[in-house]
């Protein structure tokens, strides 16, 4: 008997008319590269939703960058039919909703909303690599929400696979027997049908009140050029129908429901969505900020008294200045950010000017990956050349007169009498082979980390938990971690409040003039090494001028490091080649043109390239190639 339901069976699981006990909502928790998208492709094929011919590899990952990096940024949901043999003979069709989750730590909030839309989760682990820190973090989230967990080892076809070893590790984490860990290959399809059967058997059916006022949770929203914002929802209670007016409970905004439907795998309009169902809404709004992930949708004429969960806006954790290398590209950058914002509710920015870099924007990001993705999209999709300043976190500075400043840019760090500076901290989890414990401890200690605990997942693998200032992570922590553990360590972190720290602002002065782009907020103990490093770097980058240029690093009025660019002594062409004055004049014209491209700080001419080189981290550059 085919597991693909026949026409009569399909009728029993029609969208808007499927009884909740025939629905299964699940997600896949997996690390980057552990094969989630390939497994999803195989499921789409096995359930007949996508045939071989129209199959595009990794169907769910739509954006170019996602495909290239092999990660999923935006989640989506696909409805798949699946028939399971009944104990008394015959078979029963079910509707399976696979909700794709973002895999990265920067998007924890989106992950938690995706998990909230499910009753079960497939824990997918590469049989050659074992579980990674980010997967572990998401697994904890899923277990906290009481999701049924189906542990699965993927890539069992690989020669390097060690399924027995990792089955034991996973069983130790989720409880149960190593034999219960399913073994599949997304590539060959082995074990995937069994997995679908297990989902039907083990994931609980959704429960809700069909007669109550409608309540649906938004777990994703995407901007589409043709349709406007497409909002993905999971209905908890009641029913949503086309043409009715809906109410967003956090903003109290109302919209007409122009279209409602399910994705299978393309959008299919339906007569609505009932209890436990997952699908999409289109209201004609143009900005994803009108459809906030985590918000509750209800019916305007019969509104629910209470939202499903308290909504909170995603809060930028990391800030960086983005400047066009060509100043005339500023309007292009502004338009590009406005466009990206339509599809990225977490992107926050405001105009900023820098003496050194001209006009740009201070942009807030959820984390470093988010920063990198946004920067890359700006450069690739909008053809911009950008300089991004060193990323920094948000500091809360309390003055002795009790006024409080939120500092997102070192240049805004207040002068005067400061009573306290607070910085965000994170709880970080590092998973690594146990032989690297020493190296990891050394790194975390040098980054002001505090060890919270350590557990062996197996004799060879260890989980280390630390509290770390976020500022210590945003620069090059991950690169350092990878290089000290030969790439074996994985990292996850989550916000864990803030702490008062002994932080100071280090300024860099060229001939006594402060250069805003080079200021940094660092721990008091690191001010000296930052100052020395930056002054040394600039000494190499700033061309000699007609006069001596002192480079100073200072905390307040105290100079902590000093270098000097010696005065240029000779700048004259001695000879005119047989009266070739044309050549000499053209050389002068070229020099004058070159001077125009320099930024002048006080009297010092600094080429744009010097700013770029001084602000980019060398290690970051190398790492890009490695990732």
């Amino acid at each position: 008997m085919s597991p693909i339901p026949n026409a009569a069976q399909v009728a029993t699981i029609a969208p808007a008319a499927t009884p909740p006990h025939l629905l299964r909502n699940f997600c896949i928790i997996a690390h980057i590269d552990h094969g989630k998208s390939t497994l999803a492709d195989r499921m789409l094929q096995l359930t007949g939703v996508v045939d071989e011919r129209t199959m595009r590899a990794q169907y769910l990952d739509r954006m170019e960058i996602e495909r290239e990096r092999g990660i999923t940024i935006k989640s989506q949901a696909v409805r798949m039919p699946w028939a399971v043999a009944e104990p008394g003979g015959g078979s029963q069709a079910y509707a399976l909703n696979m909700i794709d989750t973002p895999g990265h730590v920067d998007f924890t909030y989106e992950v938690s909303r995706s998990l909230a839309a499910c009753e079960g989760a497939v824990l997918l682990v590469d049989a050659a690599q074992g579980i990674e820190a980010q997967t572990l973090a998401n697994l904890y989230l899923a277990m906290e929400q009481d999701l049924a967990i189906i542990p699965v080892l993927n890539k069992i076809d690989l020669p390097a696979a060690q399924p027995d070893r990792y089955a034991e590790e996973i069983a130790g984490l989720v409880g149960g027997d190593p034999e219960d860990v399913l073994r599949v290959s997304g590539k060959t399809g082995a074990g995937v049908a069994e997995l679908l059967d297990r989902i039907v058997a083990e994931v609980p059916a959704p429960v809700g009140d069909a007669d109550a006022a409608a309540r649906a949770m938004i777990f994703d929203s995407v901007y589409d050029t043709y349709r406007g914002v497409v909002t993905y929802v999971r209905v908890v209670d009641g029913h949503l129908s086309p043409r009715e007016r809906i109410l967003m409970m956090s903003t109290r905004a109302t919209h007409e429901l122009l279209e409602i439907g399910v994705i299978s795998p393309e959008a299919i309009p339906t007569q609505g969505l009932g209890v436990g169902e997952v699908g999409y809404l289109i209201t004609g709004v143009k900005d994803v900020r009108h459809s906030k992930v985590g918000d509750t949708v209800t019916n305007q004429s019969k509104p629910a008294p209470q939202a499903l969960a308290e909504y909170h806006d995603p809060k930028p954790m990391v800030y960086s200045g983005l400047y066009p290398i060509d100043g005339s590209d500023y309007p292009v950058l502004r338009d590009a950010l406005d466009k990206l914002k339509l599809n990225d509710a977490a992107l926050a920015y405001e105009p900023e000017t820098s003496v050194a870099l001209g006009f740009g924007f201070r942009v807030g990001f959820l984390g470093l990956l988010h920063l990198e993705i946004v920067r890359e999209r700006l450069e690739r999709e909008f053809d911009l050349d950008l300089i991004s300043t060193a990323p920094n976190v948000v500091y809360t500075v309390t003055m002795e007169d009790r006024t409080v400043h939120q500092v997102t840019n070192p240049s805004e760090f207040p002068g005067g009498k400061i009573s306290e500076v607070r910085e965000p901290v994170v709880r970080a989890t590092v998973l690594a082979p146990s032989e690297y414990i020493g190296a990891i401890m050394e790194l975390c200690q040098s980054r002001r980390g505090e060890l919270l605990g350590m557990d062996y997942l197996s004799p060879e693998r260890v989980e280390m938990r630390y509290t770390l200032p976020l500022a210590e992570i945003v620069f090059d922590f991950f690169d350092q971690l990878k290089s000290r553990t030969k790439g074996y360590a994985s990292l996850d972190y989550e916000p864990a409040g803030d702490q008062a720290s002994d932080l100071v602002k280090v300024d860099v002065l060229l001939q006594g003039e402060q250069v805003d782009a080079f200021s940094a907020i660092v721990h008091k103990d690191k001010a000296y090494s930052y100052g020395v490093a930056m002054a040394g770097k600039l000494k190499e980058l700033i061309p000699r001028q007609q006069f001596e240029v002192p480079i100073q690093a200072a905390v307040g009025s105290r100079v902590i490091a000093r270098e000097t660019v010696r005065a240029m002594r000779k700048d004259v062409l001695a000879k005119c080649y047989g009266g070739d004055i044309t050549r000499k004049r053209k050389l002068l014209e070229k020099q004058k043109e070159g001077k125009k491209r320099m930024k002048t700080i006080g009297r010092v001419d600094v080429p744009q390239e010097a700013f770029i080189a001084a602000l980019s981290t060398d290690s970051g550059k190398d790492d890009k190639a490695k990732k």
Partner: protein, 410 residues
């Protein structure tokens, strides 16, 4: 060899724009530069237009060169008179290459042609360059008899290892000898020196300058070595066989030559030139003052101007097409440029600031005038001269002359 500038085409007959006829020249006098593109060996650092016998095929050989050059001198006379600019010559300068690779009689013949075609002022300055090892006493006497008044020897250095790095073959001990012969023949004498050669110490340089001054010459030129792209030396520097010249070292050496020359009674009159009173090279000065001059020979540059606009042109570089064009009564010019008032003004600043009499502050654009105070404050421009309305470079200012020009023309 330096690439020729990119310019517009020159009419086949080499004729000049008619508007030159209506306006007086920017500066008095007319100069003639005669280029002799031959050397016995090619020096590793040199990027001037020059060829050794082995590099040249038939039709462009040394034997026929005086005849070919004389054709261009005749062309110069015709072209200049058609725009009313033919005057008797105030200066003639024969450079190279190595002019003394030609027989003295050839040099005398070219000078005679110039005298016939254009005329020569009674007090004209007539110079030839020479290598210390390519002339003897008799040759120098013959040059004086032919009308030459001045000789400039390519001494470069008094230190053997420096001369070897420069591929110079002469014996440094011969320099005082040839200077004495030239003076005995009644010629004014100048010596050329090069500083900043890889491996040259400051003491080496001091020895060279002292040796030059001890000969009693009344004119000295000192040029910083520039490693030009495409030269053999550039390749040696690129491959790490020779260190690149260090600008700080060159600055120290410039300061040293300026000190020693001044102490010996030779004052600077242009960034790279020192002379006793009255002994400055007038032909050289004409370049910096924007006078008219005609450059004869492969790769030679010419200039004819007015205070508002001017023409610069340059000849084809290789002796063979140069000779072929003249044989067909065509101009040997490869291209030219017409300078508008703004470019003329820029050049006036660029060139004028390099000489000791300086530049009138009034001749600068308002932005340049504003910059003078800052340049005085930085010690690049002489304050007392500025008060008198002249921009005159200090010693430090001479070393940073290009930066000063950028400030004055910003």
């Amino acid at each position: 060899m330096p690439a020729l500038p990119v310019g517009e085409a020159v009419p086949d007959d080499g004729s000049l724009p008619g508007w030159l006829a209506d306006v007086p020249p920017a500066a008095p006098g007319l100069g003639l530069y005669l280029h002799v593109p031959f050397c016995r060996v090619r020096c590793g650092y040199c990027d001037f237009t020059t060829y050794t016998a082995a590099e040249l095929g038939g039709g462009a050989d040394q034997a026929g060169y005086a005849t070919t050059a004389s054709l261009e001198i005749a062309l110069a006379a015709r072209t200049l008179s058609s725009v009313g600019r033919a005057r008797s010559l105030s200066t003639v300068f024969v450079g190279g290459g190595t002019p003394t690779m030609l027989p003295t009689s050839d040099l005398a013949r070219m000078l005679a042609t110039a005298r016939d075609e254009l005329g020569l002022d009674p007090d004209a300055e007539v110079t030839t360059e020479a290598n210390p090892d390519s002339v003897d006493e008799a040759a120098l006497e013959r040059l004086a008899e032919a009308g030459f008044t001045r000789v400039s020897f390519g001494m470069q250095s008094a230190v053997r290892h420096v001369l070897a790095t420069l591929d110079r073959t002469h014996d440094p001990d011969r320099v005082p000898q040839v200077v004495a012969w030239a003076r005995r023949a009644g010629l004014a004498v100048s010596l050329d020196l090069i500083y900043g050669t890889p491996g040259e110490t400051v003491e080496d340089w001091r020895r060279s300058v002292e040796a030059a001054l001890e000969t009693g010459v009344d004119h000295l030129s000192a040029y910083a070595l520039v490693v030009e792209d495409g030269t053999r030396m550039a390749g040696q520097v690129r491959r790490g066989l020779l260190p690149a010249p260090d600008p700080d070292d060159q600055a120290t050496k410039y300061e040293l030559v300026d000190e020693l020359a001044s102490a010996a009674g030779l004052a600077w009159y242009e960034v790279s030139n020192w002379a006793r009173p009255g002994a400055a090279c007038r032909h050289n000065e004409a370049y910096w003052r924007g006078s008219d001059w005609w450059g004869v020979g492969p790769g030679a540059h010419s200039h004819v101007g007015t205070p508002q606009a001017s023409v610069r042109w340059w000849n084809v570089k290789h002796p063979r097409p140069y000779a072929e064009r003249l044989a067909r009564h065509r101009t040997p010019a490869a291209g030219r440029e017409l300078l508008d008032a703004a470019s003329v003004a820029l050049e006036r600043t660029l060139l004028g600031v390099r000489v000791a009499e300086g530049l009138a502050v009034q001749s600068l654009a308002p932005g340049g005038r504003t910059a003078v105070a800052g340049l005085v404050a930085d010690g690049l421009v002489d304050g007392a001269a500025a008060v008198r309305g002249r921009v005159v470079l200090t010693r430090r200012g001479r070393l940073l002359a290009d930066a000063v020009v950028r400030a004055l023309t910003a």
